[in-house]
């Protein structure tokens, strides 16, 4: 047992590194030894500083909205990687692929025949009341029949170490640039360790993404022009936009760079107007086209939707996919998998209560202090209540909101997310983590081996979002089975207090 972990507190949560106090899981053995050879925390902190400095110089930052000066911050990076053994990843891949298939079929159905509603699986009201449903697109013939192209599914591990889906992000999932940058930095800081571990590379992602985007182009265009549409440099994810554009060698454009003439999209170049065939848009549906959606939007392109309808330009992700990442619709994904694929879900959802459902609503209102309540369309950790960490006043405020608009909320038990050792100040402590793998749906479904592991760096916090003080870790998916079998539930640690059993 290396000194660095000597005072590591092995708490009641599932621990990614330790099976029991002082006993790492087999796939963490080598890392424990490597860190054990370090000269105390000083060396680790030195490497941590090197990493932070690298991120700052390279400008790997996000913009903080609340700050008028538009301060850029680095997304804190933690040097202790999260390691996923090969067999565990195989399980995740199978589950994510299944989920992507079902979601795509759901979207095709909901913008087509609406069988799932007619057969009583999903209440019509659920669809009609969703802010992200675009009735304009019912019956629209989508390129290649692909209704969702990119999904960033948030996964967590519960107290038993079982992976569960927390939510899907089908609109504009962000964070993949940090995955790629984190790996670059890790390669500099721990080159030998990465080699010894046979970590699977993540670098193919941008190739796969470009192939997907090109695949979506109108079929008569032999060499399509692909661009990335950004809201602009003040968007919190601007770093990512420019990173991806650079990696793919495509133009990054703002709405004002594009014009629509005769239902075709062009970009304004110094020498004239050049045609555009595929737009990887990183702005929401609402802002895409002021003639169709929000009239006050300055970010979009007037006439874009008509060009899209005519098949002159492809959008990634398509318009209207947001209906499937409505957090209330999420509740039904388990049923969709059964309905469309005739299979049992490989990755279970987190137990979820719908306040739109009268029975569930009663339960939710009676148990607010124990639950996590989320509004169905917010992201980034906003608009949520973490019951056990909230004051009575906050709970009452949410109670009123829920009663006022039940459709707008769901509730989930507080899950004790798994923890992973992380550098905290000058010690190593367990911090809660989640995982966002990125799934591409093109000619085939491709999943980057790994994903963004976010870590709640604030002690005891369960909120991992960057906007809420979270950080990230490199995620290592191992190429082969050098690791012990999956930790079975019976071996996992002490009883769980925070989980609400129903």
């Amino acid at each position: 047992m290396p000194d660095l972990f000597a005072s590591y507190e092995h708490a009641r949560f599932y621990d990614e590194m330790f099976a029991a106090p002082g006993k790492p899981h087999a796939h963490y053995q080598r890392l424990a030894e490597r860190f054990g050879r370090m000269e105390g925390i000083g060396e680790l902190l030195q490497r941590q500083r090197t990493a932070d400095q690298t991120f700052l110089s390279r400008g790997v930052t996000f913009t903080v909205y609340s700050d008028n000066a538009g301060t850029e911050k680095i997304f804190p990076f933690d040097l202790l990687p999260r390691i996923i053994p090969a067999h565990e990843w195989k399980h995740l891949e199978a589950g994510l692929t299944q989920r992507m298939q079902a979601l795509n079929m759901f979207l095709a159905d909901i913008y087509g025949e609406q069988r799932i509603i007619r057969e009583g699986i999903l209440p019509r009201g659920m669809v009609d009341s969703s802010k992200n449903f675009r009735p304009e697109l019912v019956g629209f013939k989508i390129p290649r029949g692909l209704f969702v192209h990119i999904n960033g599914t948030d996964l967590i591990r519960d107290e038993a170490g079982e992976y569960r889906v927390l939510e899907d992000n089908l609109r504009t999932p962000s964070g993949v640039s940090y995955v790629l940058e984190n790996r670059q930095v890790m390669k500099r800081v721990f080159p030998n360790l990465i080699r010894d571990y046979r970590v699977r590379p993540v670098e193919n992602y941008t190739n796969d993404l470009l192939a997907l985007l090109t695949y979506l182009a109108p079929e008569h265009v032999p060499e399509p022009t692909v661009v990335l549409l950004t809201p602009g440099v003040y968007n919190s994810a601007y770093f990512e936009h420019s990173f991806l554009a650079r990696q793919m060698g495509i133009e990054i454009v703002e709405g004002s760079d594009l014009v629509v003439e005769d239902d075709k999209v062009y970009m304004r170049r110094t020498d004239g107007l050049a045609p555009v065939h595929v737009i990887y848009r990183r702005i929401d549906d609402d802002f895409l086209d002021p003639t169709v959606f929000r009239k006050d939007s300055m970010l979009g392109v007037p006439g874009l939707m008509e060009a899209y309808r005519k098949g002159n330009v492809a959008l990634c992700n398509p318009v209207g996919t947001g209906i499937a990442d409505d957090k209330a619709v999420y509740y039904y994904v388990q049923k969709m998998i059964k309905f469309y694929l005739g299979q049992d879900p490989i990755l279970p959802n987190v137990e979820t209560f719908l306040s739109a459902d009268p029975t569930d609503l009663k339960y939710i209102l009676a148990n607010l202090p124990k639950l996590v309540v989320k509004s169905v369309n917010e992201a980034g950790g906003y608009g949520m209540l973490v019951g056990p960490h909230s004051t009575t006043a906050q709970i009452e405020e949410f109670r009123a909101k829920i009663i006022d608009n039940p459709r707008n909320f769901i509730a989930q038990p507080t899950i004790g997310l798994s923890r992973c050792p992380s550098v905290c100040g000058s010690t190593i402590e367990g911090r809660h983590i989640d995982l966002r793998p990125y799934i591409l749906n093109g000619e085939t479904i491709k999943i980057m081996p790994g994903g963004l592991t976010r870590v709640a760096l604030k002690k005891g916090s369960l909120v991992v979002n960057s906007s809420q003080g979270g950080g990230s870790k490199d995620t290592w998916v191992l190429a082969d089975e050098t690791s012990a079998p999956f930790q079975s539930q019976s071996q996992s640690a002490s009883p769980i207090v925070e989980k609400v059993l129903v």
């Binding site: 110089s57 454009v253 760079d257 110094t270 004239g272 107007l273």
Partner: protein
């Protein structure tokens, strides 16, 4: 390339050139003050005031500092004050912000050079300047900009990206050189009787130095420093990289490169205006220009540079999409 991107790289170059110019001017003034013969003269606010005029911000200066014209306030204004849009730090911040907008197009090293410089610079203030001494501190600033040019010139492909960069850089340089001359003519002399005095010579030498032109001037013109000779050199020399004529030729060359790939834009207003201004400079007899009023002559050049700027914007950046050519 995208019009917006062309505009951003153009302005990046202008800001960098403007920043470098601020550092050069400050350097020259600081050295000039050291040359002043009495301690009293060195402390005289008038020794620092001209700089504020060169940077075109006297009104703003007095708003920010009142009547307190000292080395400290002027240096703070010219180098560090973010409320002065032409301060060194502001220019670097704008250049870096522009580069951030187009970093997908820039080589990583180009962006990192500017980013790390900005991050280092934004912690600095007058006390840092005073601690190191003007000469050392300013040569650090100029050095970092030269370093950026070095990285840029070895990393940026000679596509439109580069030529818009060059266009911005030389347009700004032509403008800066005309301003330096203008201010010297009106501000630096205590009164007209000093023309030709030892102090006058020291000051003309300082003007040349602020354009890093002193040695080049000596080599090329082999003569005494006189008003006419210095002005002629900085306005009309064909070989000196900071003369107005040279900068204008480079700007014209950059513009020709930009339109080489777009023949339908070859006959553009900016190119015509550049040719006409060059012609005007070639024909100028400096002695006559001075007799008619150097300030008016320089003012006219600045005006025409402004028209060239507006014409490039109209042709490549803000054109109306109704009239634009639709590319295949």
């Amino acid at each position: 390339m995208l019009s917006r991107v062309a505009n951003l790289i153009f302005w990046t170059a202008r800001y960098l050139e403007r920043a470098e110019n601020a550092a050069r001017l400050l350097d020259v003034n600081a050295q000039l003050v050291l040359d002043l013969q009495s301690r009293q003269a060195a402390d005289d606010p008038r020794s620092w005031e001209p700089l504020v005029y060169v940077c075109g911000g006297d009104e703003l200066f007095h708003k920010l500092y009142g009547q307190e014209v000292t080395e400290r306030t002027v240096v703070d204004f010219v180098l560090f004050n973010r409320q002065n849009p032409s301060s060194f730090l502001s220019c670097i911040a704008y250049a870096r912000e522009n580069a951030r907008c187009i970093r997908d197009q820039l080589a990583g090293e180009v962006w990192e050079e500017l980013n790390t410089f900005y991050l280092k610079l934004k912690e600095d203030d007058y006390s840092r300047y005073a601690q190191l001494g003007s000469s050392e501190y300013l040569s650090f600033l100029k050095g970092r900009i030269q370093l950026f040019y070095g990285v840029a010139s070895s990393m940026i492909p000679r596509t439109q990206m580069w030529w818009f960069f060059e266009l911005g850089r030389f347009m700004e340089r032509a403008d800066n050189t005309s301003r330096i001359l203008d201010v010297k003519y009106y501000m630096l002399l205590p009164d007209n009787t000093s023309v030709g005095s030892a102090l006058d010579m020291v000051q003309w030498a300082s003007v040349l130095r602020s354009c890093s032109a002193f040695e080049a001037f000596r080599k090329s013109r082999r003569g005494q420093l006189t008003l006419e000779r210095v002005v002629d050199y900085l306005v009309r020399d064909h070989f000196f990289p900071r003369s107005i004529l040279f900068s204008l030729s480079e700007a014209g060359f950059a513009l020709a490169q930009i339109t080489a790939a777009a023949p339908h834009l070859a006959d553009n207003a900016a190119a015509r205006l550049i040719a006409s201004l060059r012609d005007h400079l070639e024909k100028t007899v400096i002695k006559e220009a001075i007799a008619d009023g150097l300030h008016e002559y320089l003012d006219d050049i600045q005006l025409r540079l402004g028209e060239i700027h507006a014409a490039t914007q109209e042709t490549f950046i803000n054109y109306s999409s109704d009239t634009a050519k639709v590319l295949a």
